[in-house]
């Protein structure tokens, strides 16, 4: 049953990316073009998502356990270190170059666009490199 929820949550997330047009890299790049022709839409996507998810998160986390799992399972890492800053900066540079972050990139595979397939392939190589060289463990 929780497998079905994973699928449904993914579908709803993907629909949200299309409705908000975040699946389109040009729309994301226009948000990052703050000093040029700026499209503030992405900020409204984040606000919309937070308005729904944040209050409900704080309500739900006080429950004894989730409806279909033994316990809540999320990172409560509070560490603010070099890895956080360097990793975020590298991500920001890649995001600014291509206009793609992981969610929209994977959703855009639905369009069978060769350019987004290449991006996702490179992104997965990036994930694998971090795992292989243990870059997320050492500080």
């Amino acid at each position: 049953m929780n497998k079905l929820i994973s699928l449904i949550a993914g579908i709803i997330f993907g629909i949200g990316l299309v409705v908000s047009e975040m699946v389109n890299p040009a729309k994301v790049l226009a948000f990052l073009d703050l000093f040029g022709n700026w499209d503030p839409s992405l900020a409204f996507v984040m606000i919309g998502a937070l308005v729904v998810s944040s209050p409900l998160f704080h309500l739900i986390k006080n429950k004894e356990k989730p409806l279909l799992a033994e316990k809540f399972n999320y990172s409560n890492n509070k560490e603010i270190n070099n890895k956080l800053i360097i990793g975020s900066a590298l991500f920001g540079a890649g995001w600014g170059l291509g206009g793609l972050c992981p969610g929209p990139a994977i959703s855009s595979l639905a369009l069978l666009n060769i350019n987004s397939i290449i991006f996702v392939f490179a992104m997965f190589i990036g994930f694998y490199l971090v795992k292989f060289f243990n870059l997320n463990k050492t500080s």
Binding site: G16, N37, M46, I47, A49, F57, G96, I118, G126
Partner: protein, 139 residues
């Protein structure tokens, strides 16, 4: 700065749909959505592998289901430089895993639970993303 192509209503609505997906995943499965984590763990970890793969499948099905129900075509504009896309993909893959999150994991789930770590990550990748676009526009 010129404000162009701003779509606040669909952006907010799409954002709320994304927020709903985050809430469903948390309420039923007890996990917080972070696409870079889900995608990278689907590749490298045994735990929750099938759940993660189903979520990713859902992300891809989302746009397809949206198109079927609305009969709207989804158009995206993406760079067609393979070198740029590979470089951007590697940066996004490596960066999100070193910093432990992307636009969804830090930007929505993390900020939603008022994590300072995620707020700092989000500010960092936004600033670097904006600077990257600024520099790219100069070249």
């Amino acid at each position: 700065m010129n404000i162009v192509n701003f779509t606040p209503i669909t952006a907010t609505l799409g954002g709320m749909i994304i927020g709903l997906a985050v809430v469903i995943f948390f309420l039923f499965n007890g996990r917080l959505v972070g696409i870079s984590g889900i995608a990278s763990n689907a590749l490298t970890e045994k735990d929750n592998k099938f759940d993660n793969l189903l979520f990713l499948l859902g992300l891809i099905l989302g746009p397809i289901i949206y198109s079927l129900f609305t009969s709207k075509e989804i158009n995206i504009t993406i760079s067609n430089s393979f070198i740029l896309l590979i470089f951007a993909g590697l940066l996004v893959g490596v960066g999100t895993r070193i910093s432990g999150g992307c636009t969804s994991g830090h930007g929505i789930s993390g900020i939603g639970r008022f994590s300072l770590r995620s707020i700092i990550a989000t500010i960092t990748f936004m600033i670097v993303g904006i600077l990257t676009v600024l520099i790219k526009n100069f070249i």
